[in-house]
């Protein structure tokens, strides 16, 4: 096959994907929600292909319509304004309450809604986090200028922020510390030492470990309260300020992602994590607005 053939094939596949995407939108959206280009693309689809897709969708559409009707007929809860006003009198306004129309998602204090959740999590994380006091040579990780280009963590910045965060890491093995490489495989006798480099403006740090299924696990801060980081380079430290190295619980293997978030204000990290991490850090434009910057890297634990 020549390059030209390859290009033509790529172009054909691209056209097919575009047509399929247009068809998906045509079937999913009401006419008033279709833009002009979407309608045009749909008009240009192969009539047979379009008819077949519409026939398949018609059956689903009938089911969906019946289900929606049944949903709308479901009884509503017996709730009145009096109940709400009564709640208003009984439940004190949390001190961290944010207006419902602000960017901040109001979260009840743990003492109200979930007295055990973060505490349990913290206990698990404390167990997982090896608080190994090590010499200053451990925390003397490579400076940004000395990091091999291939080892740099992915630095993600939201469109509205000039703040930058760089999550750097090294591999600690016995008495040896070596620069980390993104995607590196780590053995059972190796641990991670991390450092955060903040530029632009400071912010509030939270650090997560994300498994292959996208499940985030809060690593830092272990107290559940966000930690303020000013501009500069900071090693990851324990609650007593001592440098720490990390490896996951015994038996945990596979690819794990480490994501550091810097937020404009101290927030409950568990509020931000699911949205940010499930949307993917590539979609910084979809993040909640308090997120200023993030940085991540991946390693493979054996």
């Amino acid at each position: 096959m020549t390059d030209r053939d390859d290009r033509e094939e790529d172009g054909t596949m691209q056209d097919a994907r575009t047509a399929e995407a247009a068809m998906d939108r045509l079937l999913a959206l009401r006419d008033e929600d279709l833009d002009g280009w979407e309608a045009e693309l749909a008009d240009g689809l192969d009539p047979e292909l379009r008819a077949a897709a519409e026939a398949v969708d018609a059956e689903f559409d009938a089911l969906l319509s019946a289900w929606v009707d049944a949903e709308r007929d479901a009884p509503a809860p017996e709730l009145t304004a009096r109940d709400i006003l009564d709640l208003d009198r009984r439940i004190p306004l949390p001190t961290d309450a944010a207006p419902a129309d602000s960017d901040v998602i109001p979260v009840r204090r743990r003492t109200h809604a979930d007295p055990n959740g973060l505490r349990r999590l913290t206990a698990a994380l404390v167990a997982a986090l090896m608080l190994v006091a090590v010499g200053s040579w451990i925390v003397a990780l490579q400076t940004p200028g000395t990091i091999d280009p291939g080892t740099r963590a992915k630095d993600l910045v939201t469109s509205e922020s000039a703040t930058r965060l760089d999550l750097q890491f090294s591999i600690e093995r016995g008495d040896t510390v070596t620069p980390g490489v993104v995607g590196q495989t780590l053995g059972p006798d190796e641990s991670l030492a991390m450092r955060l480099d903040v530029r632009g403006d400071g912010g509030w740090l939270s650090l997560f470990e994300v498994d292959a299924s996208g499940e985030p696990r809060m690593l830092y801060p272990t107290s559940g309260d966000a930690l303020r980081l000013d501009v500069g380079s900071h090693p990851l430290v324990g609650s007593g300020g001592e440098p720490v190295v990390y490896r996951p619980d015994d038996g945990v293997t596979g690819t794990l992602r480490y994501v550091a978030l810097l937020t404009r204000e101290p927030i409950d990290p568990m509020r931000v994590a699911p949205g940010v991490l499930s949307a993917g850090t590539d979609r910084a434009d979809l993040w909640p607005r308090p997120v200023l910057a993030a940085s991540e890297f991946t390693v493979d634990w054996q």
Partner: protein
Amino acid sequence: MAGDSRPRRHLRVVEDLSSLEDEELMCLHRDGDASAFDLLVHRHRGGLHRYLLRLVRDTQRAEELVADTFLKIHRAAPRYQPTAKFSTYAYTVAYRAALNHNARMRHRRDFGAGGSAELEQQQRAEPPAAGPAGPERAVRLKRDFARLEAELDQLPEAHRAAFLLYYVQDMSCAEIAETLDISPEEAKGRLAYARKLLRSRMTADRRERT
């Protein structure tokens, strides 16, 4: 009165609240009219409950979150400005409440054992009207509904929320974008993806059964 810059609605005597739009009711509530808030609760409690139930998959929690949503709206009322539709505002508050709840549940690690099973066990009071084809159709439809709901539960919550707002709440893509704080293009993408996925799974399910 030239020197009076207050909005006229402060002086308005309203006899029939039911003729007012949600935003007007919210302004009246902001200004101290409790009956306006009662009508708002009455109008939206059902829709919010359905929405939250599908997002958190727990009837009791959904009811609590409906109350929580209205409580937040009530507490934010003094700052309310009718710059957007009330429904998008209310569903924004509800969505955030559901996300918070789900995040907490995920980290309790008992989510799968609790919420989803609870919803699966939830029975509709009656199957949908049998229609001319008789009870067999009703049974089949009920089974299809259960399957559809199970598949809906499998969608990522961001896609599920968009799907519910569009098809059950009849919001536009622009309203969904505002409610979920995403772009209209992203809203469309989520809807197309969700519908395609549900359609393919339901079609495969039917083929297996036949």
